[in-house]
């Protein structure tokens, strides 16, 4: 019997995997995708909870998160491209001019 718990556990795992990716990968694009993975896992939580409560609200929230993700993807890719063009590398650590 699949309960709400199964979904939540899966989502937690996906979230943490995304977390690790976001904090360890070198390429800016992959870091961005890892963050998208974290958002995806949140979507799963919302949807599962909405289904659990028998409400559509969770699904609607997921819909909006997707819209925001798409927008973020557009902006993010543009920023990354601008960044890569300037630094000739996708390495996220190149963004280290400002510190201390």
């Amino acid at each position: 019997m699949i309960t709400i718990g199964h979904y939540l556990v899966l989502a937690s795992f996906l979230f943490v995997v995304g977390l690790i990716g976001a904090l360890t990968r070198k390429s800016a694009i992959i870091v961005f995708l890892a963050i998208e993975l974290m958002l995806n896992s949140v979507n799963l939580v919302f949807l599962a909870l909405g289904r659990y409560f028998g409400q559509l609200d969770g699904a609607v929230f997921v819909f909006f998160i997707m819209a925001v993700s798409a927008a973020e993807a557009a902006i993010g890719v543009a920023i990354t491209v601008a960044f890569i063009r300037r630094n000739k590398t996708t390495a996220i650590d190149a963004a280290n001019l400002m510190k201390w």
Partner: protein
Amino acid sequence: MTFAVVFFAVAFLAFIGALTLVFHRHPVIAVLGMAAATVSIGVLYVMLHVPFLGLFQMIVYAGAVMVIALYVIMALGPEESGPQVGTVQTVLTYAASLLFLLQLYRVLIKSEIGPMPAVDEAFGSIQAFGGALVSRYAVPFELASLLLLGAMVGAVVLSRRQWQ
């Protein structure tokens, strides 16, 4: 029972896809792993009785986002770069992520988990969904459209070559 088998299969696929994204050295394969994960999550959406959103997930993520990402990686040359290993950062990240997972787990086992209740056929239908979007959620819907417009213009502005 079949439901459970399918769930575990899809969940496993999603997990593997996620791991590929995070740990595979080659960026193209990593992105493909992410695509697999998003498609699997889309399947889970369908299983959660919201088929419309599952479809949407596949189009938006596996379709649009992944394609753009792949495009960028291919266009700029796929540098081989896996995750960092052995630095303080990675060690701390793993430790902290595990602790975080543990914390989530501790909360979840303390939660009152129940089985998914049955819902009628109309739940998650595209009619119900569309109705909610244009009635109760009309304001956020408009706000989201504004946001997408902004994103579009922003992407143009940021990646335009010539400045004035």
